[in-house]
Point group: D2
Amino acid sequence: MIVEMRKGAARESVDGVVARAKSLGLGVQLNLGTDKTVVALLGSNTGQLSPDLFAVLPEVESVTRIMKPYKLAAREFKPFPTVVKSANVEIGGRKLVVMAGPCAVESEAQLFEAARIVKKAGATVLRGGAYKPRTSPFSFQGLEKTGLELLAKAKTEFGMPVISEVVDPRDVENISESVDILQIGARNMQNYALLTAVGRQKKPVLLKRGLSSTIDEWLTAADYLLAGGNDQVILCERGIRTYETSTRFSLDISAIPVIKRFSHLPVVVDPSHAAGHYALVPAMAKAAVAAGADGLLIEVHPNPKEALVDGLQSLTPSDFSRLMEELRAVAAAVGREI
Amino acid sequence: MIVEMRKGAARESVDGVVARAKSLGLGVQLNLGTDKTVVALLGSNTGQLSPDLFAVLPEVESVTRIMKPYKLAAREFKPFPTVVKSANVEIGGRKLVVMAGPCAVESEAQLFEAARIVKKAGATVLRGGAYKPRTSPFSFQGLEKTGLELLAKAKTEFGMPVISEVVDPRDVENISESVDILQIGARNMQNYALLTAVGRQKKPVLLKRGLSSTIDEWLTAADYLLAGGNDQVILCERGIRTYETSTRFSLDISAIPVIKRFSHLPVVVDPSHAAGHYALVPAMAKAAVAAGADGLLIEVHPNPKEALVDGLQSLTPSDFSRLMEELRAVAAAVGREI
Amino acid sequence: MIVEMRKGAARESVDGVVARAKSLGLGVQLNLGTDKTVVALLGSNTGQLSPDLFAVLPEVESVTRIMKPYKLAAREFKPFPTVVKSANVEIGGRKLVVMAGPCAVESEAQLFEAARIVKKAGATVLRGGAYKPRTSPFSFQGLEKTGLELLAKAKTEFGMPVISEVVDPRDVENISESVDILQIGARNMQNYALLTAVGRQKKPVLLKRGLSSTIDEWLTAADYLLAGGNDQVILCERGIRTYETSTRFSLDISAIPVIKRFSHLPVVVDPSHAAGHYALVPAMAKAAVAAGADGLLIEVHPNPKEALVDGLQSLTPSDFSRLMEELRAVAAAVGREI
Amino acid sequence: MIVEMRKGAARESVDGVVARAKSLGLGVQLNLGTDKTVVALLGSNTGQLSPDLFAVLPEVESVTRIMKPYKLAAREFKPFPTVVKSANVEIGGRKLVVMAGPCAVESEAQLFEAARIVKKAGATVLRGGAYKPRTSPFSFQGLEKTGLELLAKAKTEFGMPVISEVVDPRDVENISESVDILQIGARNMQNYALLTAVGRQKKPVLLKRGLSSTIDEWLTAADYLLAGGNDQVILCERGIRTYETSTRFSLDISAIPVIKRFSHLPVVVDPSHAAGHYALVPAMAKAAVAAGADGLLIEVHPNPKEALVDGLQSLTPSDFSRLMEELRAVAAAVGREI
C-alpha cells in the first residue's frame, strides 16, 4: 500500500501514518521527497486491509493498494491449477466440460428429453433450475422441491452429474443432497449469507460473476467459499452490464485470460445468458473455447418455443448438436478436447 | 407489447403470434403493412409477460415491451404518494427525514455518542449496521446480535427510531423485533429469498438500489416487498457503478425525478456510499434535496479516523452539524423543511 | 509512480527499472523487501509519463501512477479559481451564469423570440447551434453560415454574448469572429485537431465532457486548450453514458465537487442533454446549483413541439421562467446569486 | 415507430399525432384500446426520424422506434456481404486479413524491421501511425509527414498495403495519397467533419468503434462514410468502456455476430487496444477469429521495451509468429484461412 501525503504535509501527519502502520504490524518505508512525502507500507496482508484506514488520516492525499484484495483464490496462494471433480467429470483439466440443459426444470418429460439430447451430443453435466430467481414476483419461480426430485431422478437415469442453482441459505443442505454441483447466480454473487452457507458444504460450487462485478470482486467472493473450507470452486463468466443493448449482457471474453493469469480456479462461460438470443450463442461459445475457457454452460430446450423461462436464448436440439461439432474443432485447434 | 415480423414473413408465422397471444388472453391488433407486419398485443398485464414468449416464434424480428415491468410500485397502481411512518417520523411528506449515524455499530460508547450528535443536529432516525456485508471474508463483519441489542438500547435512550441492515432471511424476525426500519443493501436488491422474507414482516423497509440496477429493476424488486403485503417501502438511491473512478459510485441524481414520475414510493439518497469520501458528501446531499429527495441517509462517526468500517466517507460531528444548517436552507428553497 | 516487481525478481530486472528512470531524469527510491521489491519513481512530471514505459520491462508486476495526468488544469498548477469573462458576464464568480436558448438556430424569428424570452427570465448568455453534429447523415445539420449570421445579429440586438458549437477545425476562425464563446461538444472532447485549433484563438471555450470520459481525461483534454495559450476555459458536465435508460445520459452530479477539488476551472451543467426530457430538467438544474456549479446551459425553445432538433428536452418559455425563479431561491440557499 | 398515448388521452391529442405523421408522409394505424391508445407509424424511413418529433406532442406517454437508425450499412439495404479490396488483399472474404505493425512509426529502421517481421509471419497489411491522437498534449504526437513518407516507402519496399490513422479533415487528401487504407480512431467515430471528408475520398476506410458507442451508433457513423460515396468500409471492434479495470477496455466479442446479423460490412478486431497488455492479446485474437471476425489489427514492435507509444500492448516478433501459427489452426476450425 502506498500512501501519498499532500504537498507540504506536516511532519506530525507523516508520523500519524507511520504510527497507524506500526499498530497494524506493517513495515514502513519513508521517502521524504523535496516535493511530496510518499510512505510505502509493507506486509503480507495489505491486500485485505482497507485503504481507508490511511486515507482518513490528516494530510493524506491518496492511498493506492498494490496487492490484490483476494487471497485464497490467488495464484500466488496456490500456484497449480485447481481441477474440480464431480463423479467422473473433471473441470479444469485438458478436457473441456459442457454443462447443458434447460433453464428451468418444467416436467419429467421435458427434463429427460433434454438430458437425452445433450448427453447424445456430448455434454457431460446436466443443468436445470429448480429454484429460479426471477426479477418479477409475478413470474414462474421454478418447480422447487419437485424440480430437485426430477433432477435427482435424471441423474440416476442418465448417469450424468447435475448442476442446479441455490438461492436461499435455508435450502443449501437440501439441494446439496440432491445435486452434484451447486450454482450461485450472478445476482447472488455478493450474498454473503448464501456464500458462507454454501462454502460449508462439500459439493463443488459454480460461482457466476455478478452483473457488474469486477474480476477482483469476483475472486474475493470466491474467497468466501474457499475460506469456508470448500476448495471445489468453478468460476463462470456470464456477461457484464454495459450500455450496449444489442445483447442482454456483454460477454467479457478477456476475463478468461485474466482469470488464468491471477487465479488457480477453473473458469467456464455461459454464452446463453450473456447473449439473450440463441442466434448469437454459437459464435460466443466458440470464442470462449478459443480464449481458453475450461468449459461451457449452455441452455438447451427440447422445444424453446414452449419454454417457460428464457426460451429465446435456448438452443434447439439440432442447433446444439451442430454447435458441439464445431466446438470440437475449435477445442482441438487450441490443444483441448471435448 | 409490439411484435414486428420479418420482412416477407409467412402468414402462418403471423398466425402463430396471434394464436399465442390469444392463448395468453391478450387482445391483438394486426397491421398487414406492405413492407412488414406489426402485431400490437393488448392487455393489462403485458408488463409482466416476458417478450421472449413471442420473440422465440418463427419469423419474429423484434418484440418491444411498452408497459413497465413493475406493477404495485407504479404510480398508475396507486396515484397518491405513499407516506411511510415509523414512530413519530414520516417519510414522504413535506418534512424531510435525515437518517444518520455510524456505518457499523462498534460499541455502546460509539453508538450513543453518535446518536447524541446526530439527534442534536436534527436527524430523526439513527442508523447503524449490526450485520455488515463485507466484500472480503477476512474483514470485520459487524457485532451482529450484540449490535442489535445496542441499537435497541439507543432507541430507548434517545427516543429515535433506528434503521439497520438485514442480510440473511433467517435473521429477519429477530431484526424486525429490534429495529424500526429494515434496510436491504444494494448487493441484496435482487436477493429474492431475502425480499420475500422481509416483505412478510410489517416494519418499514428501506430498499437500496442495486449497484447496476436500472430504475425499472429497482421498482420491480420493490414489487416483491409490496406483493408480500408490506406497503411501507422507502427507496434509497446510493450511486450506480460506472467507469468513473473519482468517486466510489456515481450518484444518479436524475433517479429522483424519474422515481417521482413513475412511482408512488418515497425516495431518499445516501450520498456517503456514493461518494466514498467525506469531502464530497455535502455537495451531493444538497443536490439530492434540491432535486426533490424525501430525505437522506448519512454516515456520521464521532471519530472517523478510528472507524472500523468506511471511515473515509463518514462526516465528523462538526461537519454534520454544518451540513444540517446548509440543508435547512436548501430544503426551504424547494418548499420543504428539515 | 510506483513500480512493483514480481515476487523473486532478479536484481538485473530491478536495475533495468532504475536505469530507465534515470534516463528519464527521475529520482528513484528502492525498497528491497523480503517479499517484493517496490521502486518509487520521483519527479515533477510523472503524471505525464506513460506507466507503460516501466510496465514493459522484465519482471515488472504492476505500475501505479499517483500523479494526475493533467497539469495546466490542476489546482496545484494555479491555486486560485479561474474566472472567465465574456463582455460583462463572468463565469466562475459568485454570480451564476445561465446560458439558454434553442438547440439549433432555425430562423431569425425563432432565435429572436428565444432570445427575448431567456433574457427576460434572467439568462445572460444566448445559446444556439449553427453547426449541429448529428448521429445520422440524413438528419438536419444546422443552418451553418446563415446560423452564424443570425447569432451575430441576435447578439447586437439583445446585447447578450452568444455561445455556439464548433465541429471542424476549418471553421474555428470564422466562428470565433461571430460568437463570444466557442463550444466543443461531448463527441469532440478528444478531437485533438479541433482542440488544438480552438486553443490557439482567444475567445472563451466551453468544453463539454465526453460521453464516457473520466474526469481525469476531461481535465487532460482541457490541457490541450490551455497549452495552446487559451486560459479562458469553462468545463460543462452533460451526463455520462451508463446502462440506465430512463434518462438519455446519467448526470454525474459528483463531478462538480470533484472538479472544484482538483481544478481551478469553472464548471457549468447542461441538464437538458443529460435528461433528454423536459420534465426532468428542473430537478436536475436545481441539483446542479445546490452542488456548487458555476452555471447552467439550458435548452429553451419558443415552441418545443415545432423544434427541428431535440424538442423533447427543451423547456417552454413559461417553464423556463418558473425554473429561473426556483433557481434563484436555491442559489441564495448556497450563497450564490443569479 | 409506435406511439403510446397516456391513459385517458383526449381525442385531440391522438389527432395531433396523426396530423404530424401525415405531414411527414407516414402511414398511420390507430388502435383505440379501452385502456390506452396506441398509434403505429408506418413508412420506410422511420428509422431516420427522431422519436422526439412525436414524444413532444401532448399526452404522448412513450415513443418506440422499431426500425434501426442506420440505413446504408444495413443488411436490408444490401443483402450480400461487402468485400473490401486493397491491392491484392480482400477483407470480408473467406481468407482473413491480419494487419500488423507498430502503434507509431518511429523511424525507418523500426518500421522496416516491423514490416519484415509481420510479413514473414503472414500478415498482409502493414499498420503504423503517423498522426497519433494522444490524451495529453505533452505526449509524443507522431512523426506526421515524415511518418507518412516512411509508410509510403515501406509499402513499395515490402509490397504490402499500409493502413494509417487520419485525425484531421485537413489531412485527408494528403494521407489518402500516401496510404492504402485510412483508419478513423475510436475517439473520432462521431467526428462528423472527419467522417464526411473521408467519405468523399476513394480509399478503403477502417472505422473503429467509439469508446462507448452502441453498435447502432457505430453503423450510423458508417452511414456517413457510405453516404459520401465510399462503399469500402471496414468496421473494427476495439473494446468498449466499462467499469472493469483489469483490461484497458472490454472487448465486446458479441459485436461480431451482431454485426454479421445486421450489416453487410466486414468486421475486424483490434485485441491490442482492448487488452492494453500483451499477455492477453493471443487469447483475445483467437476468440475473435473463432467468433467469426474477418481479420485482426495487431500491434507488433521489433522491441516493445523501447516503443515510444503503447509498448505494453505490443507483441514481440516471436510472440507474433507463434500467435499466427495458433490463429491458422483456429481459422481452419471455423472454415476460414489466414
